[in-house]
Structure formats: C-alpha cells, structure tokens
Symmetry: C3
Subunit: 323 residues, 3 copies
C-alpha cells in the first residue's frame, strides 16, 4: 500500500472503550463491531420501506460529503442516508475549489471542523486520506471512508456482508469467490477483511495474474486463475467492476478477451452451487465483467445490495454519532 497510509501508526477506528469512532476500513475491526452494524442496519430496513422514510436521529447534525474524487452514485447513497436521518447535508466537490487554490487537505478539514461539522464522508483518490483526516480531527467529529485509492471501501463491503447474511444466513458455512480486478480494487480488499473476520471459511479470488496483487494469499484467500476451478462449490460470487483503463496499460488484451475468460455468463454461473447468489458493487459493465442474463437473472442480488446499502449507511452514521 502506498500513499498517506505509510505514516500510519495505529488504527484510529475504535475509541478507548472499543466503540466505533470512525469507519475507515474493515481491516482490524472485530466481528462484534461488524455484526453490530449489520444488526443496526436491519432496524433501519423498516424506515426506508415506510411511507415517511425519515427518523430524527441526526437532526441538527452537519454531515459533509467531502468528495475529492467525483462519484455521483456513492455521494447520493450517503446523502440519502443522512437526509433520512434528518441531518443537514452539505456536498463539497473539492477538486473544483480550495484544493485548486493551493489549500492543503488538512486546512480544508480544519475549516469545515471549525464550522462544527459532526461527520465527514470522504472519498479520495489517495489511499489513506480518510485515515489522515480521522487522526487529525477532534474526538466529536466522525469520519467515514467512502473509498480511498486502492485501499478500502468499507461501507461497500458492509452492505455486501449484509446482503450475504440476508440470503445465506450463516457466514461459517460459506465458500465465497471474488472475481476480477483484485489488484486495483479497494472493494475487494474491504470484502476480504470483512469475510475472514466474520468467519467465512473459504474466500477465493479469481483473476488473471496481471490483476492480482503480489502475495495476495497472505490476506487469507485461495487464488484461482480460471473460472472453471474457482467457481466450483461456491455459494456467493462477488463480481468486481473492470476499469476500462486497464486495457490501455496493457494489463489485459481486450474487453472481449476478458469477457471470454472472466465475464460471468449463465454457463459459468452454472459451475457454482445451484443456489449461489451474485453480487456486484456497480456500476456494471454489461458484456465486460458480467452478462446481462446474469445481472438481471434470478440469482442476482445486485439491486437488493443497493437497497441494503442505504440502511447500512444509516446504521454506520447512527452508531458513529451514538444516537
């Protein structure tokens, strides 16, 4: 891992009482903390389904969506979650403003903190930026990592865990395969840490060698290069998005070639267990990493993931602020 994480000395996610202070990564979070988030999210499922989708838990709190890297989709999920908790939400697209005026990241954060911010939702292209912010702010301010570089995307992983538990109940009996561009994926890293912590006995990664990090086995996963072997006996398939720019830098010959070997078709899906579920963090590249027949098929839980994602983010915000 490169970038701002290099200077990290401890995990600032838990406070002295073991309570969640920030959500920066699933790495190092104890199973009870993860499970508490999932359980709390269950209680918010009702809120998002009723007529008035609003509870006053974060009324008068100020949530800042600090997006140093644009992402309408992810920003929207956090904005909706915060608004359903009655928070005041301010969106800041920082690329276009202060950073271009030469202000440092921490000066920006100090300024917003001085406005009595309660929570920062941070997306940044540099790994470790949310950690840097978390270690810098006062204890009454909470930081949620909404994706940093190749490092982590913990709310995505948590909504994946919520989805798996909803459909498969017990983590301890599952075989899970993560398929695709593991090398560049902050989602995959956060998924692996969450799955192993929650007791999934076998986590596999399936990818060409050029899309796997060196020594990935150290994370506790089994490595496969071919779908035929990798998908055997699998209960849960977690597909990853393939960034188109990977073709350009010669890691892959073409999207057609990629689809042929790793694209999830009904034929390949048939190699997994019959009741296997298929997840994808979105947005999907249909015809690249996933076939439409699978994406829209009966084993796909891709849209339920999005629904659960709102409840999970409401849960994280609510737990962090202690409401």
């Amino acid at each position: 891992m490169t970038g701002l994480l290099g200077t990290m000395t401890h995990n600032p996610q838990l406070n002295r009482n073991g309570r969640l202070q920030h959500l920066l990564t699933t790495e190092g979070l104890p199973a009870p903390v993860l499970l508490n988030i999932l359980d709390t999210a269950e209680s918010f499922m009702g809120v998002t389904e009723r007529d008035v989708k609003k509870v006053p838990l974060l009324r008068g709190k100020s949530v800042f969506n600090l997006f140093f890297e644009p992402s309408t989709r992810t920003r929207t999920t956090f904005e909706i979650a915060a608004k359903r908790l009655s928070a005041d939400v301010v969106n800041l697209n920082i690329a276009a403003s202060s950073q271009s005026k030469g202000e440092t990241l921490l000066d920006t954060v100090d300024n917003l903190s001085a406005m009595h911010a309660d929570m920062f939702v941070v997306r940044h292209s540099q790994s470790g930026a949310p950690h840097l912010i978390a270690r810098h702010v006062r204890p009454e301010i909470h930081v949620i990592n909404a994706g940093d570089g190749r490092h982590a995307h913990p709310t995505q992983a948590l909504l994946d865990m919520f989805t798996i538990r909803r459909y498969k109940r017990d983590f301890h009996t599952l075989r899970v395969a993560i398929v695709g561009d593991i090398l560049h994926s902050r989602v995959a890293r956060s998924q692996i840490h969450a799955l192993t912590t929650l007791g999934v006995p076998e986590v596999r990664v399936i990818a060409p060698k050029t899309l796997l990090p060196a020594k990935v086995e150290r994370l506790g996963v089994r490595v496969f290069h071919e779908m035929a072997q990798g998908l055997k006996d699998i209960d849960v398939l977690m597909m990853l998005r393939l960034q188109q720019e990977r073709m350009l830098n010669a890691r892959l010959p073409s999207t057609e070639e990629y689809f042929k070997y790793y694209g999830l078709t009904p034929e390949k899906l048939a190699l997994a267990k019959s009741g296997a579920i298929v997840l994808h963090p979105g947005p999907m590249n249909r015809g690249v990493e996933i076939d439409s027949a699978v994406a829209d098929g009966s084993q796909s839980v891709i849209l339920p993931q999005v629904t659960f994602g709102i409840a999970v983010r409401m849960a994280v915000m609510s737990i962090l602020t202690g409401t």
Copy 2:
C-alpha cells in the same frame, strides 16, 4: 419524432383507474386530468405566498432530479417545489458521472429506485427518455418529464395553461398564437396538445418555413408565416426562445433578420387584440425573439408564469404521490 419514443406502445401516464401515474407529455391527457392539475395548483398559490412557505405533504419522500442535460433554471423550480412540499431532494447531474462510466440509463434508474426513490424528475436530450424510465419503474415510483429532446415539456405547458386561465378565464373563447421556432421546440408541442385538449378553438403557429415541422397542421393548428396576419384578433401570444445555434446551421440568416420579421416589438404586439397577454418560457433572448419594451411591458405575464410554475409543479408532485 425520433429517438426512444419509436418503441413506445402505449401511454403509461394514466393508471388503470384513470389517475395520473406519471407526467410525461400533455398529449393524450384528458381535459379533466389537466384541469385537476390547474385546480390543485390554485390551492398551492396560497402556500407560496405565506410566511412559512412549506407544507408537509411529501415529508419523508425522496425526489431525484435526474438531469442528463444541464438546466439550472428548470432544476431549481422543481427543487424549490419539492422542498416546499417537505420532500428530500437529491440533485444528480448525470452527464458528469455514471453515464460516462458506461452505465446504461436504466441501470442508473434501477439503482436509484433501489434506494426507495419516490419520484424522478427527468431532463434528457433524447426524446422519449422519460417514457422509457416510466415504463421501467415499479408502480410506486412516479416520473415527471422536465423536458426531453424536441418531444415534450409538460410542466411548462401546464404552467402556461394556468397563466392563460388566470388572465383570460375561459379557454373556449380564445385565439392563441405560438410564435417562433416550432420545429425544435418541445415547449410548443406540449402547448399545442394542452391548448387543443382544453378547448381553445383556434391555435395558430407563426414561424418561417424553415422553423416549422412538416405537416404541423395535423396537430390542429393554423399556420402563418407573417406576424401581420398571424397576430390579428389574438388573445394570447406564446413566444418561443430562439436557440442561437439555429443561425449556424443555416436555417436562419441572422438574429437581426429574425428580430425584424418575428421579434415581438410593441408595434407588432399592437396587431393583436388590445388586451392580449404575452408569455415566454424563458430564458429570454432580448432583442432576438422579444423586445425589452414588450418583455417588461404591461401585457407581459412572463414573471407571473414563473410564480405559477412553482405552484403547478407542487400540484403535479402532490397529485402523483396521492397526497
């Protein structure tokens, strides 16, 4: 009509009980449905004039402004209308995000629907995009077309009808002229359908041949190429905005030439009935399609149109959600 409408098989605006399910176009909407919107808008006029301009009708509802084509002005009218109904509003400028990541329109919509959206306000450069979305979403989600290609802009036409009724009372005694670039105007199409449905006995279009659609008479309008004849005995003048790019593609020689023949000056306005009112959807090109003396004159109802527009949009949102 080109584009996504080509595949349309039925008008999905009304549900089985004849109630408004989506607002996509004024075409095919029965007069009682249109009048119900205007009557409901009357009841919201009081809300926007009082001290606390807010009612709780859409509290806890999530309204997504899905703008695939930028328009600060139109987006603002819907945002204000939704907020005065106490809805949670999320603005998405899609050009800059998921679409550029290769996600399809319907995947974007599916995702937002999975977040328990209640309403999509859609602007798109392609005709039929809001129809496509409306036919795709679950029945508890409502779509409002905020302008699609050259096809329709129904809330604009409805606020125009509201304005006409406020000043002229009875649609059945009026002569109305629509002046300008009929060919490229979604506003004109929606106005013509609304006017004829509401019983206006004579609707005229006044434009140079190059700015008229082929066989426009089929819509039930009389065609004029000169203002002198076209404005005679007219009660209501509906001016259209002239897109500057029309000059470039050789449909018109110059803005000066256009203003000379079709720009609404006090002299030309004097050709209409003495109490005629002047409408314009905005933003105006002063000195191109309209003279400032008319735009700011006593017969102009251009700013009241904007005020009524908020009440009309509140009415549409309220009717769609059944509140």
Copy 3:
C-alpha cells in the same frame, strides 16, 4: 472602483426606518448596525455548539446561493448558516447555466424572485453586482454580498470584527495592521470601513507599493511599506491572501521574495505587541503570506474566525428577515 457601482446613486442597505434591508458593504453602515450584528451573533454561538444545531427562525424561507464566481468554501458557510436556521437552500452556480444562455443578470434575479425567494446570497466577479440586484428586487427580498470583485466582502469583515471583539474587547484602544495585497482585496476594503466605524483609532496597511491602491490614505489608514515599522505596537494583524496570479502580471518578482519581506514569520510577529492576535480570511497560502509556525501558533485565531463566521452569517440572515 470600476464596474456596476458606477451607476449607484444611494446606499440601499438601510430602509426608511434605518433597519438593515441588505448587507452589501460595511461602508456607510452606522456603528449601532454593525454592533447589533455582532451582538446577535453572540446569541447564535450557543446554537452552533449544542447537540441539535438548529433553530426554526427561517423555516419555510427560501435562500438562494447565487454564485457567479465559484467558491465552495464561502458557499458552504452560507449554506450551513441557512440550514441551521431551518431555511430551504438552493445552490446555483450561474457561470455554467443561464448566463451562458445569454440571459441577463437581472432576468435571472427576476426569475428567482418570482419563485418567492426570500434572500439572495450573491458572489460575483464584478464589483457592484449585489448592489445592482439589491436596488432591483422587491422590498421583501434581501441581498447579502458574499464578495463582489475588488469591492466588498462584508460578512468576512464582520466576522473579523466579531473575532477582534472576542479577544480584545474594546475597539477604541487598538492598533490594527492589515498586511498584504490591499490593492486587489475586497476583504481589506470591508475591514477598513468596519474598523474605522467601530472606533479603532489606528488602522495601518502594510504592503509593497505595487499592491496598494492610489490614495489609500483617504480611507483613514496609515501606510507602511516595511513590516518592521508597520508591526510596531500592533494589537491585531489581519493577513490577506496573496493571489498567485499577481506574480504573473509582474506586480511581484516571486513568492519567495514576497515571503521574505511580507510573509508573517514568528520573527516578524515578535515585532508586534506580545499578545497580538493573527487573523486570515482563508484559504491560506502557507509559506507565501504566512508561515505555518504562525498559522498554527498560539496567537493565531484563524480557526475561531471560521466558527464565528457561521454565527455572524446566521445573525445577518436573521436580522435581514426580521426574525
């Protein structure tokens, strides 16, 4: 002063009863009006520090952030202030929309006014634009200048006054120095007017000749070109941001050279009184106009300024709407 102010005939800030109608500049505002804002801001300090940072004073009011010049930081302060007063806030980045469609500034304002706007917060690159708007709108609409050209930035100056009073109590005993690019600074102009009105007996400006307006002494300030003399006996140092583009147009040789002579280092700060406080409007250029040891040092009140700024903006909004 160039630009739209050229046509100004009177100061439209006060209504016939001497009450604040708009906040456009600190120039010409009587001391009791300034002090009333500071006193009201004190009462809002409690709101921003409590658990539910929200009061219903502006509930149902519509505040439009009209930013013709981008500024995420300033827009955020007004957005947060308005939301904590429970207003509905709509952000409009006008550069990207109607103005590019050829609509005039006043047509844009007329349109938003017709939507029953209650308040416009205006930032514009042209001096006098907020005045132009203020003189144009109906009396029930209030305008706050959030920075116009080189002219004025009154809320910044007011939060500076609030800060000075908090730390130094009595304006009548102070020596205040404003350091840096006075020539291009709307902040400096607003600060000078506020300081002299509030009775500060000695206001100094310290800058190279190329960064001073002609005849600046007429504003009631003493001019210094060197820090050594200028900082002697000073109680309050108000640093200005140095725009990087000033280097390009040959007003300054280099940032290094500027820092050497005018950058506030601990050594230079030691020339002022021992308890002197240091202000900066942000965003800071560390190593250009201010050294990090000063910016983060014990005499810096730069972050408290930001905190006070929210309370001051809440006070201004509350006073303008008479709530």
